[in-house]
Structures are given as C-alpha cells and as structure tokens.
Amino acid sequence: MSGAVVASNLAVGYGGYTVVDGISFDLRAGGLMCLIGTNGSGKSTLLKTLAGLNAPVHGDVHLLGAAPGTQPARVGYLAQRPASSFTLPIRAADVVAMGRFAHLGLIKRARPADRKLCRESIERMGVTPFADRPLLELSGGQQQRTHLAQALARRADVLLLDEPTAGLDPAGREVFAAAVAAERVRGCAVVMATHDLADAEGADLVLLLASRLVAAGTPAEVLTDDNLRASFGFTGQH
C-alpha cells in the first residue's frame, strides 16, 4: 500500500451491473493517471467509484490508505457535467466557495485562510472577471473554469477529474495544465478522464478502457497502435 490511489483486481459498475473488470494500478502521490476510452467505456464509472459515489462491484481500492468516500477533505471530485440547479442564480464565487465545505463541515466558520484559497483558485483558473456573475449566465467554458476552481479550492491530496478540459478554449486548457502541474508539485495525485491523447502522453500511468481494461501502464506501453485500434478503431492520434 504505497501509492496515493491503489486498486487491485477492481471491478466497477452500477446497480449490480459490471462495466469494467480487473483494474489494477498504483498511483504515487504527485502522480498523474489518465483514463482514455470512448464514451461509455467506463471512465466515469471508475471515477465515481474512486469518489465513493458508486460502490465497487468487487476488488480492492484505496485512496490515501482508506476506502473511497471516507476522506472528503483530502479527495476532490469534479463530475463531467456537474448537475447544478439553476433555480437560484448563484454567483461563480459562491460556487467556488462550496469547494471548502468538505473542510468546514457543519459548524466551522470560514477563516481568512479559506477565503484566501478560494481567491487564489479563482485567480488561477481565470475566473476573476466573471466571479460576481451568476453561474447560469456564464458560457459552458466559463462554468467549467468555475468548477475547476472549486476543485482546486478543496486543496485535496487526490483530485478526480472527469473530462476537465471539455468545453475549455486553448487559453483555458493552458491555465488548467498549469494548475494540474502545480497541484502535482504540491504532492497531489491527479486522476483524470480525457479524450486528448496529448494529455495522456505526459502522464505517469494510462488506463485504456473499452468496457474492459484494454491496457494499463506507462504511456509508451499503453498508447500503441494496436491498443488504440482495439479501443477506438483507429490509430493516428496526430
């Protein structure tokens, strides 16, 4: 049990139905693991399982030495499309502040340090120009930046991100890449689902999924023509 996120012969699914079986990996603190695969290949299901939202079907999985969902203050999760309700036109800055709730719990008061973290996260993701505007008035990319800032404000030791760059413009992708790099330097392990093979090339570990585990290992081991053909039906990523 050395790594930050460790799985051994893990099967993930929902409602008793298995989506992917036989997943094993060991991601170190500060490491980056990318989940690659088509829509419906099991990436989101695996991330939800790591976040404690879905129970594992069978097998072992540990985050920071404990079961999923047991250390909310240390594990941040960002859904593919966060299911935000828009009945209340809540401001972007307030959405980011909700990232601190895992630390504050029911009764702790938000301290200057909490507010500073939120401010920094807002700046890092370039949310400042629209921080005071209601989330529902923002574009998809601006909403995604807001939710990424919320995830950063958690100051977690493990970040689980489901297609974090979806909807981001090139500038947004750049600030996101810088933020992930900074989080990793701090020792935070990052697991993210992505469709961008360029992201995966810089990762420590890559899992290639296609409703089954096609390959797992370093980018050089996993991103081979044969593997890509097996999961996507094509090879040329460039």
């Binding site: 976040a51 404690g52 939202l53 969902g69 909310p72 203050a73 594990v75 941040g76 999760y77 859904a79 966060p82 299911a83 935000s84 309700s85 828009f86 009945t87 209340l88 036109p89 809540i90 401001r91 307030d94 959405v95 909700m98 709730f101 895992a102 504050l104 719990g105 029911l106 009764i107 505007r133 209601p134 529902l136 008035e137 923002l138 574009s139 998809g140 990319g141 909403q143």
Partner: protein, 298 residues
C-alpha cells in the same frame, strides 16, 4: 389614512393576533419555502400538507390537541412515502400521489363523522387565522425558532442538496440524513402554520414568497430574507383586504402573496426586455431564465 391602514389592528385584538400569527407563518415558510423551491420539493410539501388532514380530523373528533394529530399525520405520510419509494420500483411522485389521495380521502371520511362536518373541514383546509389564541402563537414561535436553528446549522449541506447534490456526498455530508432533516422542517412549518392558513393554503405561503424571492436574489440567505418580507407584507395586506372587503382572511393573505409573485414576475420580464433585447451566448448554453440581469454575452 391611519384609520384605514392601522386602526383595524390596533382596535381589534383578534386581528392583532392574526397579524402576529401570519408573520410567524411567513417566517417559517420563508426559510422552508426557499428549500422547497430550490430543491424542487413542491409536490412533497403539498402531499405533507394534506397528509396532516386525517390526523387533525381524528384529533378534533377525539377532543385532543390538533397539533398532536397533525404531527402524527405528517409522520405517517413521511414514513409511507419513504417506505414505498425505497421498497418498490415506483417513482417517488407516484408514491407521494398515492398517499396524498389516500390521506385526503381518509381525512374527509373521519371529518364526516363529526356533527359539524362542513365547518370543521373548512377550518382545517382554509385555516382560522382570526381565531388564533395565545397558545397557538406560542407553538408557532417555537416552530419558527426550531426551523431557523435547523436551517442555520445545516445551511451547507442544504445548499449543496439544492444546488449540486453530488457535491454534498463528496464533501462528506450524508445525503439521506439531510434529506430527512429537510423534510422534517417542511413538516414542522406545515404543522405550525395550518391553524392560521389551513392545510390547503399553507402550500401557497410555502411557494409564493420564496418563488418571488428566487426571481430577484442570488444568495440563499437573501432569498429567505426577501421571502420573509414578502410573506409578512402579504399577511398585512391580506388581513386589511379581508377586514375592509369582508373576505375570508387566510385566502386573502395567500391571494396577495400569489399576486405579488405575478407582479414581480411581470416586472422582471419587462425589465429584461428593456435592458437587453439581444442575448448572444455560447452555443448550447443559452438559458431562458433571465432574472433581470439582462446582459449581452460575448
């Protein structure tokens, strides 16, 4: 002018008490209604409001305190909905609808055993805000304090449940526990308010002021404060209307609250149309709600 606006309350103790009762209803319903509107609990709240009917009717028949009957009725309704939803494949609105109809029918059946059937039924459904006594006011005050305390203590999980339910779980809050607590404060607000505005009209006080506030505020606390103001103003205006025009008091209060919603809704629409007629947004992210901040998106 003061003869028209203030004297009715200064000269008539019953109207004075009615105003106090109405304001207490407005306070409890502002807090609870905010969650009902944001979390989409309108149907559950409606069902709870009717679930109390057989309880109250039995209490009236047996000569027990009605508030006790209301509490039992609500508990049966909440328990029933949760059991049917969890144990069957039926969706929660089906379970709620079923019990809602059943409890309403049972309530009317029990009431029909009473000698003053129509009078009792009318009082239960539409309330008797002019007949509120000091003890009723005390119960209402306790309910307002209790609802306020629970809402304040659980403000973070409640906000997450309303805005981003998944984040509630991943932030370490047990969703089922806070959902139950949310239903509990809905029940407390209904039980404490039915005496004044009745089981049918309490629903209007839960929804109208909070919905109006949702049109013009951006934060949950502000929404509650504005809902409380609107609810209190509706109580005052409704009682005045009822006094001068000789109309049913509870119904007048709720009618004013709904009228305020319609006015504010129209105002917001007109304001938006005047501020910015062209709204350009990123493809796929245009939403039709405007909330009056009409802005042109680039």
């Amino acid at each position: 002018m003061s003869d028209f606006l203030i004297s009715p309350f200064a000269d008539n103790a019953f109207l004075h008490r009615a105003l106090l009762a109405g304001v207490l209803v407005a306070l409890a319903c502002a807090v609870v209604g905010t969650f009902v509107v944001l979390r989409g609990l309108a149907f559950v709240a409606d069902a709870l409001a009717h679930g109390v009917l057989p309880g109250i009717a039995s209490a009236v028949l047996l000569g027990l305190p009605t508030i006790l009957g209301a509490a039992v009725g609500t508990a049966v309704m909440m328990g029933g909905v949760s059991v049917i939803t969890r144990r069957s494949r039926l969706s929660s609105d089906t379970a709620i609808g079923l019990l809602f109809a059943g409890m309403l029918a049972l309530g009317v059946m029990i009431t029909s055993k009473s000698r003053s059937f129509t009078g009792d039924l009318t009082r239960i459904l539409f309330g008797d805000v002019l007949g509120v006594d000091r003890l009723d006011l005390l119960w209402q005050l306790i309910a307002v304090v209790l609802v306020g305390a629970i809402a304040w203590l659980c403000r973070r999980p409640f906000l997450l449940l309303c805005v981003e339910p998944e984040l509630a779980t991943t932030s370490g809050f047990q969703v089922r526990r806070y959902e139950s607590l949310l239903l509990l404060i809905v029940a407390i607000a209904i039980i404490s308010s039915f005496q004044s505005v009745g089981t049918l009209l309490v629903f209007g006080m839960l929804l109208a002021p909070a919905s109006t506030a949702a049109l013009v505020t951006r934060r949950m606390g502000a929404m509650m404060a504005m809902a409380a103001l609107i609810g209190s103003a509706s109580t005052y205006a409704g009682l005045l209307l009822s006094y001068h025009a000789d109309l049913a008091a509870g119904a007048s209060i709720v009618a004013v609250a709904v009228a305020i919603f319609l006015l504010v809704f129209a105002g917001v629409e007109v304001w938006a149309a005047m501020r910015g007629s062209v709204r350009v947004t990123d493809a796929g992210h245009h939403r039709h709600h405007d909330h009056g901040h009409g802005q042109v998106h680039a």
